[in-house]
Symmetry: C2
Subunit: 197 residues, 2 copies
DNA sequence: GTCTATAGGAAGATAGAC
DNA sequence: GTCTATCTTCCTATAGAC
């Protein structure tokens, strides 16, 4: 209780209303305490936000690594394709995912550098992890003509492009995009071009 | 002057600091007037924001259509590829583009429906325009095995995924992603899969 | 560790002089 | 159409009782 409840409520309020749009009153109200009680656990709004941010990115980082670890022996095609669905579910059911997306793109101006120091290591980790997975694939070199790191970057771009649609239009257009973009991506990384063949 | 100066300053402030993060004081200060003078031109903050939003989306809509019209006789490959660079330049030099991206993804909660009524027609127009361009291509059916509307959706996903990187990491990673993702996309839409060949 | 009370400031908005 | 002055409300934050 106490601190954890506040963190959870703050996670939701920040993710939903942004940094300036979320007030300590609204967070306290959601927990069921009074505003000044927050100061017994956190130094202030900035401190609360940054602690929530570190927590959210760490949690989401763990969940994503778990996803890939659990499926490391499955075919790459299914692992990557299902990841796009999985992230959609995460976004709808998991406030950490929502928080992460919002403040990766739009950190509060007053905390710009502090937030970037959380976001950048996260993205670097993702890129490395994904590149490693692509290098160790047991499929018979489905994209032997490409650098794994480029495939990783392109996949992360695909993920972002699809998540973005989730952000503004909800899940109908999200699925339209997913079904349109995935086959093109997969074809693009598995087929050898005529010039190279 | 007057109204136009206020619109321009508001565009910048909203795009940079978000809806709640931008104050009428800061907007007035940028114009060089006092806060109450804004009320001679706009009903209030919400009205100002929505008028700026309609302006920004309309302007960006025009610029994008212009881009495609000017190049309607050029090869599709160059038109699409260059569009990714062009959007990057727009984002860095054009506050309307910045505004559009920010509030497409994160509209102020209190104006959610009003903003969606601006964003959705914009996206629909983009999709139709792009689909039409793909249908009328003079290149010898480079993606005859795919529906133009799916190619359009996939391209818009690619654009979003790359723009998103511009939002949080600046132009270095933007170019890394562009160079990784574009060849995969183009290969994916131009090559015929072995099963269909 | 939570509360009431309150300070101190900034926000959006209005009234009325010029 | 812009100003000064002011209202109301909300914000972050602190003091001090329990």
């Amino acid at each position: 209780m106490g601190m954890e409840d506040i963190r959870k409520a703050a996670l939701f309020q920040f993710a939903t209303n942004g940094y300036e749009g979320a007030s300590l009153s609204s967070i306290a109200a959601e927990v069921g305490i009074r505003k000044p009680s927050i100061y017994a656990h956190f130094q202030g709004k900035e401190d609360l936000f940054l602690q929530v941010a570190r927590y959210a990115f760490q949690e989401q980082n763990l969940r994503i690594f778990e996803y890939f670890t659990e499926r490391k022996d499955q075919p790459l095609e299914h692992t990557l394709h299902d990841f796009l669905f999985w992230m959609g579910q995460e976004y709808e059911s998991n406030n950490s995912a929502k928080f992460m997306l919002r403040f990766s793109f739009f950190p509060p101006v007053s905390l710009y550098h502090e937030v970037l120091d959380i976001v950048n290591p996260f993205l670097d980790k993702m890129e490395r992890k994904l590149t490693r997975r692509l290098r160790n694939t047991r499929d018979r070199e489905p994209f032997g003509h490409m650098e794994p790191v480029d495939v990783a970057l392109a996949f992360m771009t695909l993920v972002d492009g699809i998540m973005v649609e989730l952000l503004y239009s909800g899940s109908i257009n999200y699925h339209r995009r997913l079904n349109a973009a995935w086959p093109i991506f997969w074809r693009g990384i598995t087929l050898t071009s005529p010039h190279e063949a």
